[in-house]
């Protein structure tokens, strides 16, 4: 990570920074030997804010968790590498009841129940992300 030294010139501070530098990654701001801040590009900050909002939202759930991902924001099953959308598509495609899904995927019934509730309140996000995945694959030349 690039580091900048904040220099005190009487009462004002100066920083040599431009958009091209920020586009390459975060820049640490030091006063003396202490890090007093980190500068990021607006796009990176937007992603960070979205991630933080999802993380805060995830704290309301007992069995779901936000996993870091480059573009996906929906929650995952805690302790598993499975998104809520992936679980729901399995349940719907195979016409599973809550209990059948819990048994078949070896999950606590309460976890499946919470995932179903999350799906109901975040259906737009989950369906948007399914379309986003298809669009990303299409952009790479795959027919989806």
């Amino acid at each position: 990570m690039k580091t900048l030294i904040l220099k005190e010139t009487q009462a004002s501070y100066t920083l040599a920074i431009d958009e091209a530098t920020l586009a390459k990654g975060p820049v640490q701001v030091l006063r003396g030997e202490h890090i007093i801040g980190v500068l990021v590009s607006p796009d990176e900050y937007k992603l960070f804010r979205a991630w933080r909002q999802e993380r805060d939202a995830a704290q309301a759930y007992q069995y779901l968790v936000a996993r870091p991902h480059s573009w996906r924001r929906q929650l995952c099953l805690k302790g598993r590498n499975i998104t809520v959308g992936q679980l729901i598509s399995t349940i719907q495609a195979n016409h599973l009841t809550l209990e059948q899904a819990a048994d078949d995927l070896e999950l606590p019934v309460e976890q499946v129940k919470e995932a179903l509730a999350y799906y109901e309140s975040h259906r737009d996000l989950i369906e948007t992300e399914a379309r986003e995945e298809a669009a990303r694959l299409a952009a790479k030349g795959y027919t989806v």
């Binding site: 302790g79 598993r80 590498n81 499975i82 998104t83 959308g85 992936q86 729901i88 598509s89 399995t90 719907q92 495609a93 195979n94 048994d103 078949d104 995927l105 070896e106 369906e127 948007t128 399914a130 379309r131 995945e133 298809a134 990303r136 694959l137 790479k140 795959y142 027919t143 989806v144």
Partner: protein, 119 residues
């Protein structure tokens, strides 16, 4: 000879595993590999090391891994549909795997979307 399969964590189910075994496949699971909760790379690397064809629902992420590390034994991805009624059932997945094998296409180093192999 049927290829040996690895059910990625996002697609694993007891029923799907049993249906694939009944259809004549050797199937490894994340629990067998000790990889429950691990990231995509851990599953991909395990399949690569054990010469297994990966079955996954994490299509875009595994396509990226396929591009970065093409010396694998095959990735067969099931895409989630925004229109939920179109999602593939266990029966659809088993049939699509059978169809792709009957077509005798090369799997090693290749990435296929199983949704296109349903008939």
């Amino acid at each position: 000879m049927n290829p040996r399969l690895y059910l990625d964590e996002c697609i694993y189910s007891k029923r799907l595993q049993r249906m694939l075994v009944d259809a004549g496949y050797q199937v490894r699971t994340p629990a067998m590999a000790g990889l429950i909760g691990h990231d995509d790379w851990a599953h991909f690397e395990y399949a690569q090391e054990h010469e297994l064809v990966i079955i996954t629902k994490d299509a875009d992420d595994f396509e990226c891994l396929h591009q970065e590390h093409p010396n694998h034994y095959g990735v067969l991805a099931v895409c989630e549909e925004a229109q939920r009624s179109k999602n593939m059932s266990y029966t659809d997945i088993v049939r699509a795997i059978e169809n792709i094998l009957q077509a005798e296409v090369s799997l090693a180093g290749e990435f296929y979307i199983l949704n296109h192999w349903q008939w």
